[in-house]
Symmetry: C2
Amino acid sequence: MKQVLLLVVYACAACGQVNYTRLLEAAREPRNWLTYNGGYASHHYSGLSQINAGNVKRLGIDWVFQARSLEKFETTPLVVDGVMYLTEAPNNVIALDPTNGRLFWKYEHKLPDVTYPCCGKVNRGVAILDGVIFHGTHDAKLLALDAKTGRKKWEVQVFDYKQGYSLTHAPLVLKDKVIVGVAGGELGIRGFIAAYDAKTGKELWRFKVIPEPGEPGNETWGGDSWKHGGGSIWVTGSYDPELNLTYWGTGNPGPDWNPTARPGDNLYTDSVVALDADTGKLKWHFQFTPHDGWDWDAVQVPVLADVTVRGRLRKTMLWANRNGFFYTLDRATGEFLSGKEFVKQTWASGLDDRGRPLKIPGKEPNRQGSQIWPGVQGGTNWYAPSFSPRTGLFYVTAWDDYHGTYFAWDQAYEQGKWFAGGGVKAPTPPTNREAILTRGKEHGYAAVRALDAATGKRVWDYPMRDMSESGLLTTASDLLFSGNREGHFFALDAKTGKLLWSKYLGGQVIASPITFSVNGKQYVSVAAGTSLFTFTLGQLAGN
Amino acid sequence: MKQVLLLVVYACAACGQVNYTRLLEAAREPRNWLTYNGGYASHHYSGLSQINAGNVKRLGIDWVFQARSLEKFETTPLVVDGVMYLTEAPNNVIALDPTNGRLFWKYEHKLPDVTYPCCGKVNRGVAILDGVIFHGTHDAKLLALDAKTGRKKWEVQVFDYKQGYSLTHAPLVLKDKVIVGVAGGELGIRGFIAAYDAKTGKELWRFKVIPEPGEPGNETWGGDSWKHGGGSIWVTGSYDPELNLTYWGTGNPGPDWNPTARPGDNLYTDSVVALDADTGKLKWHFQFTPHDGWDWDAVQVPVLADVTVRGRLRKTMLWANRNGFFYTLDRATGEFLSGKEFVKQTWASGLDDRGRPLKIPGKEPNRQGSQIWPGVQGGTNWYAPSFSPRTGLFYVTAWDDYHGTYFAWDQAYEQGKWFAGGGVKAPTPPTNREAILTRGKEHGYAAVRALDAATGKRVWDYPMRDMSESGLLTTASDLLFSGNREGHFFALDAKTGKLLWSKYLGGQVIASPITFSVNGKQYVSVAAGTSLFTFTLGQLAGN
């Protein structure tokens, strides 16, 4: 063997031919990772089990993809029939060989000089349907790319990006539709979710997160406050094909920290909305944080699982919210089944019978600063939780014992300008070892937390010294994979939370791990720092 | 074990206490990597042998350091008594734990907005002496940092950076001196090598690569051409303590491609100079490419080895030059012992008895373009070669069957401006798989090449499809480590060139690998892309 570089000829006759049926039955092909959230129910769970508690210590880095970007690397790849699709910030789409990292193609989207990202020119991934890759951009376009070549098939302008709109999440495809929402909650946008014809890019429906005058819900906005009400969409929703409902978490109201500027509940911000997948009509909604003053986007992944609650098997939705509470909802009706705080919180005395928080007066942001738990990053955030049908547990990356001091001030809206109406003094999560070492209690800590899906009761806890913005992955071998901000990637026993293995990757994990299998060999991939690392079981001695 | 982040308390009482005696005897402590070139003789050879041909297949990535820079990552770390020191472009110095990558300290040098790098704001490493780290910067400063804390002890301005001067290589320390040279060969500088007092930063001597009027050698520059004659220094030299000579390779004359603008041999460009280490006085010189028109810097690492040449053991210097010839010199006198082309070259019919090239007329750059072999990157370049005292072989990263078309034009010097007097049309080395696949002969190829040290005769060859800018490392277990531009890092059998192991790192290797040992465990480190990867032998199954 005289040449290190063994070139693989890229010849997949039916490249990326994932039809809707395959997406519906994604759990039947755990060798692939077909949607951002690992299937319509968004379990971030894989049926693969080759890597298990007995051999995970042999897990090693098989290959590395290095992004040419110093932006936060938030991508969750797809793997489809021997091709991995991922995004590189800001808006490049890459197809490569998931067994060795070699590039098949790269699509580079040219952005205008100025776009309006809230928090970095990040991107979280793509969707695939019938040989086409779908990707949202910072200039608020939805792109359709040929999965085999990366060539653009069509693009549509979802909204005028100059008004602060952008697309950062992976689209959701279902039936013949591509569904996306718009980011820009700190820029005075009015969020919406829209469906496009996957073949043509034609818009099919649009759901407005901020109802306009005359529409139900607009009455929850005092005065003209609805005009720049926020309610952004920046994490991919879920879908229940039997109910034909698609579920999306919505962002904070705007301006973030000055709720007195927008009297009322501010629907449908900080909510989950259940939309008819064919029409975009609202079937039900559940608002986690009415009249939010703390920037607690409900942009969590809606986890759909059938769970026995008080003796009755229910079609539930499991939701650990940025506001610090875990909720079990009936996903057919939106009925609140149970709720419980999963981290320290000091803003509500509890939830009422319908799940509405019982706010403690005087906790809202003000001129002097109001200190409450949790801090601005919330009890959790957008990082994907996981549900394992094997353990029946809901797993979440939690930030506990973590507070912030919230300030409010008056602010007028200006197009393209930051429109937050306040600020937060947070104990900055430390990024270097010395600071972490001396941090102590006042900065809080992150934990991977296993909750009883019906009650939110804690089953086990894996606290870390460092914070974590990593998503979670569970497998049929009862492993749980996650990472943290310092740059560790690790595997826990999903039944007990025991640490089984870890690897230092030198860059923060702000993404969700996935697993897949090619030619009978299981791989695990995760983005950390500016690289995507792919792991396999190492060789035995002598092999 | 409940916390992934295990913080190691950094408590080395005698941090970085490497005195001159230890540097002289660096080969006695192969657990460390004490100088950029792996000892004063610059063998890039390690006495470690735990990782060997029998187990190298188990080599896996142990930890990763990710640089916060998209610049070329050309660092070669030092490892000293449990601390690794490396540089991050442009001029940050980092100390970390070589067993897990955790940061001890980071020194960030603030550069002016405008500096004058020729080819990226790169940096290649540091030197250490008596608890102090030495580092050269793009604004042409030499810094001394406390090895334990990273705090600056002193800095000196080596030259006015606004005139195109910068420091990019790792300093060389010997006795009580720190020796550096200046880069800027494409910016009309006049190169020099200078020694500074390690304790105070006081300049002790300076050797001018471009002699001034009245100095020997100035007569090799027609007219005023000496004024911007180039002769930069950008790779760390070597040292023979018995002869008390320090050897440095010098860069191309300026303007690069218009030799008619500078009649004469243009001393001491494209040469190796042997300097008295105490005074900086020139003991001897050997010019590889007199009156160079092709940008063939002699910035290779001077490899010092005692080799039997024609039956007699000689103190030799081994040198595979960018001009395509391999030279064996007597390092005490500069006597030419033997020379032989090691890649295809078409500019000289050979070397005369004193090693001077017999140039073929009409090959120099001109208005129409002159096509010759090798191309502008040369038959090799600055990437460290290796010499193994076990095999007696000299190893080099060679670019073979590789050509360029060289153009010349008149150009006036302007301060801070590119001053090259021409250009080169090169078959751009391909960077993506498709191009590599279809490249064919016309682009040439890279190879790791093993040469007989006395004759330059090829002993074995490891050709690659991709190009390589990687340095080499050999070990006492007869392994040779190198990488390539596509992002592979690999191990060959140093005796036969057989490929034993490789790993895809996703970013080009433009650095030299090192090896070291901590607590009896051998590690190998190499920079690739924007990360430094450190490898160890993987665990056996069941461990």
